[in-house]
């Protein structure tokens, strides 16, 4: 446990001193502000465009915005934040293979599973912190300008998307142990998400796949019920655990 904590502390220190925390902090905060801001600006933008649209024969009626508009923005924007996160952490392992920093730690008696577990813990933690920061900011603005209660089943929707992020990070860790360079890590992680997305085109399979969780915005309007996602939630959670569990023996067998 002490060894795990030592490496965990090192990972936190690295993220702090390399500026990752700062970048992600700003990014997630900015997205958090942007969601209500876009909602707030929509009527104004529509007004600006109204004249042009009128000229082409379209009339713009009164545009009503509320918390839902802002929450819809939240679910539209969060994938971009996740992609930024994946890019920032895609070289977490590979940089250590390439530079040889890991070799020294391993010869110091650091068990390889601690490397996987400490890095996984830090990444999942940072993802969660960033995600909920973004959520918190949007929630605060929404409560101030409008009324959050209009979004039905907001919490299940938010937790579903968070879980999808957890799963993506677990994929990132799995491919970090499989590939030697960050290109391979990104390709593997992106490829898996893409495959899941493509398979979800088959209607019968769709609700069992992790990518189903990306549609959680549907919960807000009450079109779908939270329990329709139960299967996807269980499967995604299990897949995340399996990815990290697989990463441990894979790194054990890697020639470094």
């Amino acid at each position: 446990m002490r060894v795990f904590l030592a490496f965990f502390k090192k990972e936190l220190l690295e993220s702090a001193r390399s500026g990752k925390f700062l970048i992600l902090g700003i990014l997630f905060f900015a997205f958090g502000v942007m969601n209500p801001a876009i909602a707030k600006l929509t009527p104004w933008m529509m007004e600006m465009l109204a004249e042009e649209l009128a000229a082409s024969g379209m009339t713009v009626g009164e545009v009503a915005v509320d918390a839902l508009t802002s929450w819809t923005q939240f679910f539209k924007n969060i994938p971009m934040a996740l992609i930024a996160f994946v890019f920032l952490y895609s070289s977490s392992f590979t940089k250590e293979y390439e530079s040889g920093t890991l070799v020294l730690m391993l010869t110091r008696g650091l068990a390889r599973r601690n490397v996987v577990l400490a890095k996984a813990a830090v990444m999942e933690l940072v993802w969660s912190a960033g995600y909920f920061l973004c959520f918190g900011v949007t929630y605060g603005y929404n409560a101030y300008y409008w009324d959050n209660s209009i979004a039905v089943e907001l919490m299940p929707a938010v937790m579903n998307w968070w879980l999808f992020g957890v799963f993506t990070v677990a994929l990132l860790i799995l491919f970090s142990t499989l590939s030697r360079n960050s290109g391979g890590v990104l390709l593997g992680t992106g490829g898996c998400v893409l495959v899941s997305y493509l398979v979800s085109m088959i209607p019968k399979a769709a609700k069992y796949l992790p990518t189903a969780l990306m549609n959680s915005a549907q919960l807000l309007t009450g079109v779908e019920k939270a329990d329709e996602y139960t299967a996807a939630v269980i499967i995604t959670a299990a897949a995340s655990v399996i990815c990290i569990a697989l990463a441990v023996p894979i790194l054990d067998k890697k020639q470094i």
């Binding site: 090192k10 040889g100 010869t107 008696g109």
Partner: protein, 298 residues
């Protein structure tokens, strides 16, 4: 006792056989020079000892325990310094040693006292900057400090001096000499003068096998040939010597090489004295590791 024993180690990369049945024994308390040309397989051997590479055959024992690939508990006996050590650049030397100590499960108090002692030893005692700005020599010395942190039985250094300037190289050699009382040192190199200046034992790796191994002093004694050279001031006297001693060999314009021992030296000297030949110097042939190795590799 032997700190390290390697028996018929084999390793292939693709269809290239790097090691084919390497046997090597490193006795406790030695400073062991592991010599071979670039690409001979020195690093491969060392990485196999550390459990970082999976050998294709053979066995390795560290302090009597067999080395396993992957999870390698034998590494607790070993301190390792790679040829170009890379550290977490965002840390200071003290933070780095702290991390190493915690990874080795050392006592908090011990980590602190040992870190101070070692940083002092390698001349980084007052260095509080992050490793990011360190020169190669400084990194190499920090590398020695981290390798020695756990008071290992065996210190393995992969070409510790090859990337350094003459002053940096001297500093590292001095540090290696100073630790040899407590730790057996195994270091690889292709610089024979480093071996001659600090090693007690040496092994030569050639063609994936150990071509020659033993104590430096014994190898030199065994390899010594009874030879000496006379260097004259002028070419004429060299010719006179050649006429008087037909079995001598001319080496260059004014130098003549003789084979033979003490008796022969006096014989040549008295001839030089009797004929008043102008002599620059006369010297016995030293057996250098270089000439020994050159013979083996030939």
């Amino acid at each position: 006792m032997n700190v390290l024993e390697i028996h018929s180690l084999e390793k292939r990369f693709g269809d290239k056989r790097v090691l084919c049945g390497l046997d090597m024994i490193v006795p406790e308390g030695s400073v062991f020079g592991f010599v071979g040309r670039n690409g001979a397989g020195k690093t491969t051997t060392m990485k196999s000892v550390l459990g970082l590479l999976r050998p294709d055959g053979g066995e390795i024992f560290v302090a009597g325990e067999a080395v396993k690939f992957g999870q390698t508990p034998t590494n607790r006996h070993i301190g390792y310094l790679p040829d170009v050590p890379e550290f977490y650049a965002f840390m200071t030397p003290r933070e780095y040693l702290q991390l190493c100590g915690e990874c080795m499960n050392m006592e908090e108090k011990e980590i602190r006292s040992r870190s101070e002692e070692l940083l002092e030893l390698v001349g980084l005692g007052s260095e509080n900057h992050r490793i990011k700005g360190f020169s190669r020599g400084m990194k190499q010395r920090l590398g020695v400090a981290q390798a020695l942190l756990g008071s290992p039985k065996l210190l393995i250094c992969d070409e510790p001096t090859s990337a350094l300037d003459p002053i940096g190289r001297r500093e590292i050699l001095d540090v290696l000499i100073s630790v040899r009382e407590r730790t057996t040192v195994l270091f690889s190199t292709h610089v024979l003068s480093d071996v001659e200046s600090i090693c007690t034992d040496v092994a030569l790796l050639e063609g994936g096998r150990i071509a020659m191994q033993g104590a430096v002093s014994e190898l030199k004694r065994a390899g010594r040939r009874e030879e000496f050279r006379a260097e004259m001031l002028v070419a004429d006297s060299a010719e006179e010597l050649l006429e008087a001693f037909p079995d001598a060999v001319r080496e260059g314009r004014v130098t003549v090489a003789f084979s033979g021992g003490e008796e022969r030296i006096f014989e040549v000297l008295s001839f030089i004295g009797a004929n008043k030949l102008p002599l620059r110097k006369i010297e016995r042939a030293e057996t250098s590791l270089e000439s020994l190795f050159a013979e083996v590799i030939k």
